[in-house]
Every structure is written in C-alpha cells, then in structure tokens.
C-alpha cells in the first residue's frame, strides 16, 4: 500500500477502533417520522397542457429517521424520504463528538447552511411549502426558474466539523465547516442540475474531483427567559461541471427572533454562478468580451409565525426571488426577472402531532409567462403529522 493510501486508511482505522473500544454502552435507537399530504390549487398554468408535470394537485412528503447511539460519543443517523422525486436518502451519517465544541460528521447529510434547513421537514414548519429561496418544486413557474436559490434539503457526501459553545447562560455560538461533493451540472449547462445533484439513480458520486467547501457561523443571544435572537451567516462554494471550470458561490444571512412562541424569521440568500459562454449563440443577449459569463440569483423571505391559541397558529410570509444575467435563447425569463409572493396561512392542531394547514399565496411576476399574466393566486390545503 502506498503512503498516500495509508494517509487515508489510517484515520479511518483509528476512528473505527475508537468507536469499538469505547466503554460498554448499550446501543439506543430512536425512530421518528413525518408525513404531509398537500393539495396545491392554482388556476395558473405555466406550461402548455400535457407538456409535463405542473406540481399542482396532490403532493406527499414523508420521512422516516432512525438514530442509533452506539457509544456516548458516537451516533448514526439514517433517514429516507419520499417526495415528488420518489425515494431519496436524506441522511446516512456518523457523528463522533469529541466535545460540545467539536463534532465530526461523515457520510451523507445536508451541510450546515442557513436557518431554514434545520426545520425543512414539513412537520416542523407551519406552512405547506418552503420559502421561495429554498423551494424544491412547489413554486409556480418552477421549470422557468429552475427552483429557488438553494433547494432544501441538499444532502451530499462529505465531512463536516461543527461545534457549539455557550458563553455563560445567555450566549450560544455555533460554527461548522464542511467539505462535500458539491452541486452538479453539465459542461454546457446554464444552471445547476438539481436532479443530477441529488438523485441516486444518477449515482451518489461527484462529477468532478474538486470538493465543494463552506461553513456557517451563528450567534444566539437570549435577552429574556422566553426570548432569544439568532444571527447567522453561511457560505458554499464549488465547481459544478465535469471539468471543474465553472463555479458557484452561495452566501446567506439570517435573523431569527423568538419571543414566547412567536417567531420572526428573515433570511437572504444569493447564488452567483458561472455560465459556459464558449458558444455565445446559445444565449439570448450578446455576451460581452469581458464579463457576462455569470448570473446572480438571489432573494429572501420574512416570516411571522403567531400563535393565536394553543391549537391555532397564523403565519404571514413575504418572499422575493430575483435573477439577473444572460439566459438561454428559449428561456421565458429576461435579463432581469423577479417574483414577489405574499402568503397568509394558518395551521390548526387537531390533536398533538396532527396538524391541518391552509394558506393562500398571491404571486407577482415580472414576466407575463405562458398564460400571459403577471399575477397568480394559489392555495394549499395540507395535513401533516409527526411521530
């Protein structure tokens, strides 16, 4: 075996030995899951009849998670989910905790980014759908926009070191740094290919030899017994084409304010990404000699979650999504396109763990779209359970 191979194998052997020579500890397992059925009603048609799925009508999201504590320091998580995309592996990872300040995670997981992803499970948020920047398929004109800025969840293969530290009893600092395969796209791709990035049927392996990297830093400050505020910043950067020449950079900032059970959440995400302009005729707008080889997609949301009674919550959310940069000749988008979405929703607990959800969304597009309109209305009727 060559020296370089030993460099890879030796730490793994040491980790396995550390796990299995730890003091005797009965393996403890915990099973949790969730299910959401949602009916999305919208008169808006973004594609001609019969040209493909519209993501109107029923969608189901379900997940089952097994956590096994194999020692005081080590645990394994295994989670599968079913959505519009069929079965996917959301997480299969090993956590080894050296201290609160250092946890090492290896396997398949969503790297730490932003505030929303921790609550991406539909049982953990009050509205049926996700913020627009994290949308994974429920948004109107989804094909035109190729989803949001960072469709959540975003499981990937790799390693993450993270930790948490309390300064006294009021200030919590969280940090994480990761190295993962990264998002994928084709050589001549004009955007990330999210299906290729997460689908097991196209192999859970990287399409280039350049790992993506990133991290998150967040500070939580408690200002009263039932009130705290969290400020966070996140980053992801990598190459997405097989030749590892085209890169993307995603940055994010978030603020969460919680007073009793009332939550105010504000997040902003931006993705800057290279375009392959080796064939300028593919693009609608002239590609300048300098610059013009990238586009920016960014947006954010502000959400207020207000408990009215012990069983009833009201939610108001404002979303914005904006894209600027060149587009392919056949794209329905322009050099600058945007969406505003206004949501008013409610969630009612029929019983503990069983929630009915209803929301109305008003959409305002900068482009007229297939139906020749700039405005649209849609409604969600959902039922979600956690177990």
């Amino acid at each position: 075996m060559t020296t370089s191979r030993w460099l890879v194998v030796a730490p793994l052997v040491a980790l396995v030995m550390a796990l299995f020579t730890a003091p005797a500890w009965a393996v403890d397992r915990n099973v949790a899951g969730s299910l959401q059925l949602d009916y999305h009603l919208s008169p808006e048609r973004s594609t001609p009849v019969g040209s493909g799925p519209t993501f109107r009508g029923f969608t189901t999201e379900a997940a089952l998670k097994l956590t096994a504590e194999i020692s005081e320091q080590a645990s394994v998580n295994f989670k599968v989910c079913v959505g519009c995309h069929g079965f996917e592996t959301d997480m299969v990872h090993l956590d080894y905790r050296f201290a609160d300040e250092l946890n090492v995670r290896v396997g398949r997981f969503s790297p730490s980014f932003g505030a929303f992803n921790l609550r991406h499970d539909p049982a953990n948020h009050r509205l049926s759908d996700k913020p627009l920047v994290y949308d994974m398929g429920r948004m109107l004109r989804v094909r035109d926009w190729n989803l949001g800025v960072l469709p959540s969840p975003f499981p990937d293969n790799g390693v993450e070191a993270s930790g948490t530290h309390w300064f006294g009893s009021k200030t919590q600092l969280d940090y994480a740094a990761h190295l993962v395969s990264g998002f994928k796209g084709s050589t001549a791709g004009a955007d990330l290919d999210f299906v290729q990035s997460r689908s097991g049927s196209l192999y859970y392996v990287d399409n280039n030899d350049q790992p993506a990297y990133g991290g998150r830093l967040a500070l939580t400050e408690r200002f009263s017994q039932n009130g705290d505020v969290t400020l966070g910043a996140s980053l992801m950067r990598g190459a997405f084409d097989p030749g590892a020449k085209l890169t993307y950079t995603i940055t994010g900032a978030d603020l969460t304010l919680r007073i009793d059970r009332t939550n105010l959440r504000i997040e902003y995400l931006m993705r800057r990404q290279d375009l392959d302009v080796s064939d300028p005729t593919r693009y609608r707008y002239e590609v300048p000699a300098k610059g013009g080889d990238s586009f920016v997609k960014h947006g954010g949301y502000a959400e207020l979650e207000l408990p009215v009674t012990a069983s009833l919550d009201l939610v108001g959310r404002f979303d914005a999504l904006y894209r600027s940069g060149n587009v392919l000749v056949d794209s329905p988008l322009q050099a600058r396109s945007g969406i505003f979405r206004y949501t008013l929703g409610t969630a009612y607990s029929l019983r503990r763990g069983l929630r009915l959800k209803y929301s109305t969304e008003l959409w305002s597009f900068s482009d007229t779209g297939y139906a020749g309109r700039n405005e649209a209305v849609s409604m969600h009727f959902g039922v979600a359970t956690a177990f």
Partner: protein, 124 residues
Amino acid sequence: MKRTWALALVTVVVFASVLSACVKSSQRVRALGDGLDARTIPLEYRADYELFAQRCSKCHSLSRPLDNGRIEDRFWAGYVERMRRQPGSGIAPEEVPSILRFLHFYSTEVAADVEAKSEPKEAK
C-alpha cells in the same frame, strides 16, 4: 318500589362513574394543542414543562418527545443532550436538569397510563 330502587341504583352508579372519571382525569395531564394543558401538570413540574415546551418547540413539534413512547431516564438524558448540541437550540447546559425532570415526570405518567390500560387484559 322495585322500579324506584332500580332507578336510584342506576343514578348512583352513573353519578359515581362520572365522579370517578372526573377525579381520575384531574389526576392525569391533558393534551392541549401541540403540547399539554399546563394547568393539569402538578405545580412542582409546571415550570419544568414551560421550559421544556419553550425550548423544544423552537425547532420541532412537541409531539416528537411527548408521543415518543420512551420512558427510560437514560434514553431521555441522551436525547436531550443531542438536542442541546443542535445549532441555535437555545438550551443552556444548566437547563437540562429541569427539562429532564419534566420528562421523568411525564414518562412516569405515561408508564402509569399504559399500566392502567393493560390491567383489565391481565385480569382476563
């Protein structure tokens, strides 16, 4: 006369049953919304429950721990530690004993409830 006695007996039985049910339900913690009705939790654990509900509902539904079905203290100690280490959990290390005190109380209630429900079957 026999009819009057029968009516009286039925009335007493019904009244006793209702009273018994009332007494029994006042001893049990009741569900309310996504959590529990704090008024049905004994005073000594009420603050622990409020802390548990405030911290744990930040990221997930309270049904996750409350309907988990696990009653072992050792399990909850590991579970709460794992949650405490989640980014932005807001669970300070010194708050863990209070949360565990409530979970111990609740688990004991759940265990008692399960035991009570299984008693008639064992009698058969």
